[in-house]
Symmetry: C2
Subunit: 381 residues, 2 copies
């Protein structure tokens, strides 16, 4: 039985990327690393669809989120957090930890934010300095309409629009410059298909203007230090060198095929998977699903944790369970990462057999058939 | 020409460790990772010579230093930083960034702190909440007498004694519990011989008591979150998984041979290297050298940067230059990491030929001979 990873981060990474991370370490202040890092910074502009400098920080995505808060805001600032899941809530938690005043726009988990509701909230509130939003909410599988939300933010406030793109950049269509996003955080282990350990932060000139005024305390995550270093192909501190070697290899591959290839590929895997799950009479949690992952409700009477456990024990397949109050209620299967259709048909078979073993009455093969039909249809288009 | 890394971090890591980092990624919330991580946390107790929980944070050593400041101190606290090089100064910089009042004990770079001077300073100052010290100051190659300094701190103040052990733990004799150190930061890429990306933080019960009162803002680096997660073989946020796989492999190897083996091994490499350098009439910068690295003054009239450049271009050998006001004045050769005597004799030969090419009059072979004699002598002991 071979271990198979189907979690929405870390995701399966290409073998060539794994091999790249195992190279002998270059010195991070030497010319060999500098060349690799400058090329990677260039690839990151493509990855985010921006003309602006992208920063690479050694930390998880959460560290990148904290960096946005402490580098772009000042003591006691008012911010608005769109909270539709665990990662939306994290923006509010970080903001409160640094003494900011948080207006919460709470959504039922699985729902996507309505631009009109955000507009109302912004019209009722004065002096909101930042709006935080999650593009692809990994805890629920929901996708937000970032472009529409960005327009609302800029039309009705002076706030920076700061986006968690951790499971969206490289996965869903994403245009940092065109959509006028002010700051966006992503990670190395999601759409970028490399090992975890790096946060990637895109910033536009408006964000840099605010940074110049931002007076929250920071040192390790300081953007000025990171940008100054990056301009010379350097990092403020010793970086996760092997993760950067992996990222460099992965971004080359992504650029070679083009982002549009991946956006369509993940959309295909996601819609075929949803078709399969629905044919098993399983309910998809999110109203507007992200192509990064599919979050499926556990059938009535079956604990989602049992589904996760059985998939692992019988098939060596690791999917993610639910987080927060969704613990035991859902399971989540990734599409982003180094996956193809045959990987997805394999996990669908494992899901069918698992549900059947746990007592859920299904017609064995119904999910596989529906998924295959959906995929066949995609090939015709 | 093969590339060879002789920098004091990242250091050369064992091939088996590199291979370990290239394994397929386990899910960081699954049982496979949990098992590896709990074993690693146990090995870290041995590595630091402590009975207490060691925390693993995804960041560089500097991130671990910031974590100690924000988790162990409160608004406006007074601290004392022993500053004998770039890394000593960093404690003061981080403390100031978070609004602390810093008493600086400045040393000439290359000098080690005198316990009696620290005693005087502590006697003159009231209410010092922490004393920061660098065990092995990587920018100068100097070693501090941590045991003696710890006694002074505890005898003459209520301060926590917080140690930067980034290039000392696993390299120099180090006893966290026995020496009554309250907090110590190390990194994955130095004595732990694995890729960079992780800070390792040991804390004693006194530190945890202070943590309970510490009110500086923090989120990503919060020790309570890290400890709560660690007790279940978990991490607060997605960790640098591949770096942990490497660290796990490396710490197993270190425990197998025993820390004493490495302490003596590095001491031998360092003293043989110093003997060789001195036979070339080169001056060792530090008064009390650390076995982690040897910092050598560039001869009069030769720019240290030229030495570094020539070593790289002619021999593919990367050593580190000077930092801060020592830029161009010194070069630094590591001993910590996966190195043996033959690696050191090779870099000695490259140094001799490089200095000769740059016009320094030396008797070719004098360094090699002295180094070999020193090594031969060690074998007899």
């Amino acid at each position: 039985m071979r271990s198979r990873l189907f979690t929405p981060g870390p995701t399966r990474i290409p073998d060539a990327v794994r091999a790249a991370t195992a190279q002998p370490l270059p010195y991070h202040r030497g010319p060999e690393f500098k060349k690799i890092f400058l090329e990677t910074l260039d690839q990151l502009k493509y990855f985010f669809q921006t003309q602006h400098q992208v920063l690479v920080l050694t930390c998880s995505g959460t560290g990148g989120m904290e960096a946005c808060v402490t580098n772009l805001l000042g003591h006691g600032d008012r911010v608005l957090a769109i909270e539709g899941g665990k990662f939306g809530e994290r923006w509010a938690e970080i903001s409160r930890a640094f003494g900011l005043e948080v207006i919460s726009m709470k959504l039922e988990w699985g729902k996507s934010p309505e631009p009109e509701e955000l507009k109302k909230l912004l019209q009722q509130s004065v002096n909101v300095r930042a709006v935080f939003c999650t593009h692809s909410e990994t805890s629920t599988g929901a996708r937000a309409d970032i472009q529409a939300l960005s327009e609302i933010v800029h039309a009705h406030s002076e706030a920076l629009f700061i986006v968690d793109g951790i499971t969206s950049v490289g996965v869903l269509p994403f245009y940092f410059d065109q959509w006028q996003i002010d700051a966006c955080v992503s990670g190395s282990q999601k759409g970028a298909m490399s090992p975890p350990g790096l946060a990637l932060v895109a910033l536009n000139p408006r964000a840099w203007q605010r940074h110049a005024l931002a007076n929250l305390p920071r040192y390790y995550f300081d953007f000025t230090a990171a940008r100054t270093a990056a301009q010379e192909g350097n990092t403020s501190w010793t970086p996760a060198i092997t993760a950067i070697l992996g990222l460099a290899e992965s971004l080359c591959r992504i650029r070679h095929k083009g982002l549009e290839h991946y956006w369509q590929h993940y959309a295909h895997l996601a819609s075929a998977t949803r078709a399969g799950m629905q044919a098993l009479h399983l309910e998809i949690l999110p109203q507007h699903p992200s192509a990064a992952l599919t979050a499926v409700k556990a059938p009535a009477g079956i604990d989602g944790r049992e589904i996760v456990k059985t998939l692992r024990e019988r098939f060596g397949a690791t999917v993610a369970g639910g987080q927060g109050h969704l613990k035991g209620k859902i399971f989540r299967v990734t599409h982003m990462g180094a996956y193809d259709y045959l990987d997805m048909i394999a996990i669908m078979s494992a899901v069918e057999l698992t549900l059947s073993a746990l007592g859920w009455k299904i017609e064995l093969g119904a999910g596989l058939t529906a998924m295959q039909q959906a995929y066949h249809q995609q090939l015709q288009e």
